[in-house]
């Protein structure tokens, strides 16, 4: 118990507490809350806050519109290629935001091979339209669209057949059923998903870093990053105050989500679920439209990225005559990039494995042994996951920059600080599925063992582990896939010898070496694709909802709340 409490404390809670204490501390003149007041009245802060709200707000409109439309289309119409469509709609969840941003930069630039082939490329001499606030909003909108999509699909899966049948008997056509029954029932899910998308957008770093920094559109996460990198640790107090505002925005959104869910909870009759409308004359045009949208959003940017990875230098048009694998060779020959692959695999693997192992005793103590402290602990693991990544990274620097007491050495600029941050960030991704698995398992076995005097440790290993093992494996896998391309924490915490893949892509782009950045992105995506396939194999033996992209295909009635 003490051990797992220490774990939660060290990997997130204590650094965050220190950060907030600093942010709420007195300013230079010593007045209470002075630091917060000074920072919040700064001009740069005001602009970044305005930009954050505007781009996040804009992105939510896009996420909600796209997510709802795609969920309704794929959920209510029996379209050909249903499973693949669902996967494409969820693919933005699997593609790290910095790679997504790079891919769209390649797609929308005046030299775009894809748009060029269609005759749609912007005129030479015009700036890439994505380097702007609208570009940031558009891309974050697409990236967080799956959050709305999942929420709506989950609700549609539980749509009662009886209601629809009754309407049909009453003579209502599909349009009327959609307007009068389906939409009112799904609107709360749209709202809940949108609020989640807002919280995600407020904390997003990858998209505004690659589009907003060149576009001179600072948001809070990039302002914190730039301040810290441009001025050093002396400014940690004022960036801590900015971090507090970020946390407040995210927290407000999550509280709002809870309220929306509570206010709009509608008792839906149990029974068979509606599985979709019959084919009508609108069937083929709609099918074509859904496919076109998803291919444009999920496939074309990746194609554009791949063409850039294959040209010998920027500005050279892509073609069979110019295509070369030189960028891939250069990337793979670079020892720093090879080390980044090794580091990311090791960090992500360790984060997944350790989190899964730690999740078990926390879940077991709080659920099976009904330890109230453990229940609090399970709840306390959440903040490090919910706060924007930039905030957690900042807290880590604050807590671990100076040499540790007793040991006398600092873990700053070692791999340890990255691992600790990853562990704090991703623990809930393993903890929640393990808790779900344990609470779904039969308590009688443990009761029986307890009555017979079997000690707790043996009960946990002998009874809980077999029940929770698939969930532990799934949690570890999801963490591995999320952490392998992590950028937000790494960008502030990396050091010589401790590069990660995400940081390398980001740095190559900033060196003006976009062709190498594109090649590395393609390699990173290939790694993710292999992991998805491996996980999908395993996923058939997992409880429904354990893998985020299977949610849409899982049985109706199951709802999970991914993040």
């Amino acid at each position: 118990m003490a051990l797992v409490a220490c774990f939660v404390l060290v990997t997130g809670l204590w650094p965050l507490i220190r950060l907030f204490a600093l942010a709420l501390g007195p300013g230079e003149t010593g007045e209470p809350l002075g630091l917060l007041r000074e920072t919040l009245s700064g001009r740069a802060f005001g602009r970044a806050l305005g930009n954050t709200l505007a781009s996040s707000g804009g992105s939510v409109v896009i996420s909600a519109a796209l997510g709802t439309a795609l969920a309704l289309a794929t959920g209510l119409l029996r379209l050909p290629g249903q499973a693949l469509l669902g996967f494409l709609a969820l693919s933005p969840l699997l593609i790290p935001s910095q790679i997504m941003a790079l891919a769209w930069i390649e797609l929308m630039g005046s030299g775009s091979a894809v748009l060029g082939a269609l005759g749609l490329a912007p005129a030479p001499g015009s700036r890439n339209p994505l380097y702007s606030g609208a570009g940031v909003a558009w891309l974050m909108g697409i990236e967080h669209m799956p959050l709305v999509f999942i929420a709506v699909r989950a609700r549609l899966a539980g749509l009662p057949l009886d209601l629809i049948e009754a309407a049909r008997i009453g003579g209502a056509g599909p349009a009327r059923i959609l307007r009068r029954i389906v939409l009112p029932l799904t609107l709360p899910s749209v709202a809940a998903g949108s609020v989640l998308a807002f919280a995600a957008a407020v904390g997003n770093f990858g998209v505004p870093a690659l589009l907003g920094i060149p576009g001179r559109f600072p948001v809070l996460t990039t302002l914190i990053y730039q301040r810290l990198n441009g001025f050093g640790p002396g400014v940690i107090g004022s960036v801590a105050a900015m971090a507090l505002v970020l946390v407040a925005l995210a927290a407000a959104a999550l509280i709002l989500r809870q309220l929306v869910l509570r206010w709009t909870a509608v008792p839906v009759p149990a029974g068979r679920s509606f599985t979709g409308f019959e084919r009508g004359r609108w069937h083929w045009p709609l099918t074509a439209a859904v496919w076109a949208v998803l291919v444009a959003l999920s496939v074309l940017p990746i194609v554009a990225l791949a063409t850039t990875a294959l040209v010998p230098a920027l500005g050279v048009p892509f073609g069979l005559g110019t295509a070369t694998l030189r960028n891939f060779e250069a990337v793979l020959a670079n020892p720093a990039i090879r080390r980044a692959f090794a580091n990311s695999f090791m960090l992500a693997g360790a984060a997944g494995l350790v989190s899964a192992v730690v999740a078990l005793p926390i879940a077991w103590l709080s659920l099976t042994a009904r330890n109230p402290l453990a229940r609090v602990l399970s709840w306390l693991a959440e903040p490090a996951h919910v706060v924007p990544g930039t905030v957690l990274a900042l807290a880590m620097i604050l807590a671990y920059l100076r040499p540790l007491p007793l040991l006398g050495v600092s873990i700053y600029s070692t791999g340890a600080i990255l691992l600790i941050a990853y562990l704090g960030r991703f623990l809930p991704l393993a903890l929640r599925p393990v808790e779900a698995a344990l609470s779904a398992s039969d308590p009688a076995l443990d009761e029986a063992a307890r009555i017979h005097g079997v000690p707790p440790l043996r009960r946990m290993l002998g009874i809980a582990v077999p029940a929770a093992l698939p969930a532990m494996a799934a949690g570890a896998l999801v963490i591995f896939m999320t952490a392998i391309n992590e950028l937000t924490l790494s960008a502030l915490l990396w050091s010589a010898g401790n590069e990660t893949i995400g940081v390398q892509i980001f740095s190559l782009q900033y060196e003006g070496n976009s062709t190498a950045a594109a090649a590395l992105s393609v390699l990173a995506l290939a790694a993710v694709a292999m992991l998805v396939m491996a996980a999908d194999r395993l996923g058939r033996r997992l409880p429904p909802g354990a893998l985020p992209w299977r949610v849409a295909q899982d049985q109706p009635g199951r709802t999970t709340s991914p993040r």
Binding site: A44, G109, S110, G111, P124, G125, S126, R127, N128, I213, P214, R216, P218, Q226, L228, N229, G230, F231, G232, P233, G234, P312, A313, L314, G315, V316, T322, A330, A333, N334, P335, A336, I337, I397, L401, R402, P403, V409, S410, Y412, S413, S495, A496, G497, S507, L508, Q509, Y510, E511, G512, N513, S514, A516
Partner: protein, 326 residues
């Protein structure tokens, strides 16, 4: 290990310089592009196979912040610094962070690029000039004043001193010249010129055709041209600013011997010849510049008062940010 020892013994027996070969790991903090540094380490390891070199690469301004953070944390893993400009080095020297290396092999290297106290040594000559997109520009600009034309300035991008060490020196040099001064930058800003971040963002925009003209360090433009990008570079007849990419050893290096070996190698003829293949002007006499580059002796290098620039550094950055945004 034992094999290496035997090899070393063999070398000594053959009459090679009787020095104990440096070994262990050193960490180099640099602002030179990653792919170039990978080649530098490879070549260095031919001469010093027992030294493992780790590279940490980012812009000079960011590197300095990282160093500050690490000094606060107690120590830095860095042993050697190889960064864009002498101004940043001088700051570190004044903070007593650099280790003097009086025995450095400085033969043939101009005294002007070496710190008199032998704490840092220029390794290259890097000039800043004008890049343009050959697909979009018919009449290439010849000098800085050609950039003032409204249709030129309206499609011009430059690196920002808030990110790049070379840009810090370039802006500092330009505003010290009576014929340019801040008035020059005001004219550019008024006509619609913009600032990116580092030099990387400039070559990116010009090669992609988002901008027609850019102010940039020469090797980035010339290397992109060599790789096939539709760009070309002009050394303006009104003069160029220059930086020297100095190398230095940090005082709290835990492998001074290997760090010295790296610095010595950077100043060697082999390193200079490699620099030339990477698109840099050589700094020692008798090494020919890269193909397509002018003879460095014919370059008109604008004079720079480094002490004044140090004093004005912060004010310059603020003034620049005022004109072109953060």
């Amino acid at each position: 290990m034992t094999k290496m020892h035997f090899a070393a013994l063999g070398l000594i027996a053959l009459g090679a310089p009787a020095l104990a070969a440096p070994s262990g790991t050193i960490t180099v903090y640099t602002s030179q592009p990653q792919d170039q540094m990978a080649m530098v380490v490879e070549a260095f390891n031919k001469d010093y196979p027992d030294v493992e070199v780790e590279i940490f690469r980012t812009g000079t301004t960011e590197l300095m912040s990282k160093l500050q953070a690490e000094f606060t944390a107690g120590s830095t893993p860095a042993d050697v610094l190889l960064i864009a400009d002498a101004v940043a080095m001088t700051q570190l020297k004044q903070d007593d962070r650099l280790l003097a290396h009086p025995e450095a092999p400085i033969e043939g290297i101009p005294e002007s690029v070496i710190d008199p106290d032998r704490t840092f040594f220029g390794t290259k000559l890097i000039t800043t000039g004008i890049v343009y997109n050959t697909g979009m520009v018919q009449a290439p600009p010849q000098g800085w004043d050609d950039l003032r034309a409204p249709d030129v300035a309206g499609s011009l991008i430059m690196p920002s001193p808030l990110y790049s060490g070379a840009a810090t020196i370039h802006v500092g040099t330009m505003v010290q010249q009576p014929e340019f001064g801040w008035g020059y930058y005001e004219a550019l800003a008024d006509a619609g010129a913009v600032a990116g971040q580092g030099n990387g963002t400039v070559i990116e925009a010009v090669a992609r055709g988002e901008k027609s003209y850019g102010i940039i360090i020469e090797y980035m433009a010339m290397n992109a041209k060599k790789d096939g990008s539709p760009v070309d570079f002009v050394w303006p007849d009104q003069g160029v600013s220059s930086i020297t990419q100095p190398v230095a050893i940090l005082k709290d290096s835990d492998n001074v011997e290997a760090a010295r070996a790296f610095v010595d190698w950077q100043l060697s003829r082999a390193a200079q010849e490699q620099s030339v293949t990477q698109g840099y002007f050589p700094i020692i006499a008798g090494v020919a510049p890269p193909e397509g580059y002018p003879d460095p002796a014919t370059l008109n290098i604008l004079p720079l008062d480094a002490a004044a620039l140090m004093a004005d550094d912060q004010a310059n950055k603020e003034q620049f940010a005022e004109l072109f945004g953060g």
